[in-house]
Point group: C2
Chain length 283, copies 2
């Protein structure tokens, strides 16, 4: 785990050096799009580690299908799949996959932004299970695609539900996942290629990391930061603190008003910066 | 879900047609190896859906690292990874992966053997969580690499622990996972390229599918069937019944004498025949 000082240094370095290069190399292959959005206004909900005597045992799948036509942050990085053998020709069926790690419902782990940070193969398994907290900003997201989950939203959630529990995974629910099947609407890039969708604010990320004891954060969009971010402050703050992020989360509407425990089923990708995952919630 | 009749027809067809082709095409690229093994003799253990008042909340990782030097059933099908971008050059780090679906700790889903069978993207999420049952055949596996978990082993487990609970995932513990870091010892192929390691017997698979209400089965070896099988009866029986298998499971020793709930975190690989997964147990 890195100190806030380390996080600050990394953040400054990344802002000065790395991301300007990155922006030139990878971030400008964008298509333009616009779309309608859906609002969900309820603001109830609380979360605690599931207890059998209270739990329904119902499983909610927080994962999208990982496929070749999904929306991706890097517009040209669609996963690729092909038949390797088939039942008809070979007696059984196996596909071959080729993809970069940050597509679909997937995890960001410290090494994604932090040189020397922990990779997903060695990240502690017991941090992959925890109480889910879902903070609903869908009302303001429906008004403004650049809306951010801010400290005030966290405070409002805590006023209604109590303090964020120890070990929580804190999800931003913007209602964005209804766009998933329309990748251009999901990326929502403008004429200059800048993406527009909600994310955490840098202040909210710092608050969660410094003032609360969380395991990670998650979003139903393509990035922990708002889509228009060029500095990735939320990524740096969360990952430098040794926490993780989950992007492209599905079905948060189904758990946002209920107690749930989340299981972050990310395979142990060797040296992985994160990667595709199955995220399940138990109600 | 298929009837036993369907399973029988599929099994006969696969035996007659598919696997002879498959054997010629893919199964003869084998290396020879032999190795020592480790025995574990305890035969205690019971499993039930975890209850909070009894649960420790301890997480046990049942997953190996998914990497480029792991043992694989198809000897030439090692996963491949390479840097796509790095923090040093690009501001952040992402790997590119290329692999076929049945490597590492991974799931077999009906479509793997059953034409028209369910693929992993649409397989019901609520079947991915259930009580773990671990049946220990490590004593006989230490004597005989071709040892199979038979109906008598299930009956002995039930005599000690009660009937296998509804919705269980039934694991075969052979002690084989201590060989994981030595891929040749793990595949344990003879001079003719035939692999030798434990698996379920066809009768045990039929018993579990027909006489008990299970979700799936799992092994700490490379195949649900014994390594020397050429007919894959266990695969066909389990998958034709709409159940799943998990291969390359790790750390079963840590849960075999304890109550545990297993979470099968397999990403929703589009049209997937199964695929790499994170398998976690909650004690």
């Amino acid at each position: 785990m890195c100190s806030p000082e380390v996080a600050k240094v990394v953040r400054e370095r990344v802002q000065k050096e790395g991301l300007s290069n990155l922006t030139r190399r990878n971030f400008l292959r964008l298509g333009g799009a616009a779309a309608a959005s859906t609002a969900f206004a309820s603001f109830v909900g609380s979360a605690a580690l599931v207890k059998a005597q209270e739990a329904s045992g119902e499983i909610v799948d927080l994962s999208h299908v990982f496929g070749s036509s999904i929306p991706t942050y890097l517009v040209n990085e669609k996963p690729h799949r092909e038949d390797f053998v088939t039942v008809e020709n070979d007696g059984f069926y196996i596909q071959r996959w080729n993809f970069t790690e940050h597509a679909g419902t997937h995890v960001d782990i410290p090494a994604h932004f932090i040189s020397g940070g922990e990779t997903v193969d060695n990240y502690p398994a017991d941090l992959l299970v925890g109480p889910a907290v879902v903070i609903d900003i869908s009302a303001k997201a429906a008004e403004n695609a650049d809306a951010a989950l801010d400290v005030a939203d966290i405070e409002a959630w805590e006023s209604a539900n109590g303090k964020i529990p120890t070990g929580a995974v804190v999800f931003l629910y913007s209602g964005w996942d209804v766009r998933w099947d329309d990748p251009e609407a999901f990326r929502n890039a403008d004429a200059n290629g800048v993406q527009h969708y909600p994310g955490f604010s840098p202040d909210a990320a710092a608050f969660l990391v410094e003032q609360r004891d969380i395991r990670g954060i998650g979003v139903d969009t393509l990035s922990l930061d708002i889509g228009a971010s060029t500095t990735f402050d939320v990524h740096v703050t969360v990952l430098a603190a040794g926490k993780y992020g989950i992007e492209g989360v599905a079905n948060l509407a189904a758990i946002k008003d209920r107690q749930a425990t989340v299981f972050v089923g990310v395979p142990r990708w060797e040296n992985g910066s994160g990667g595709p995952a199955r995220v399940l919630a138990v109600i």
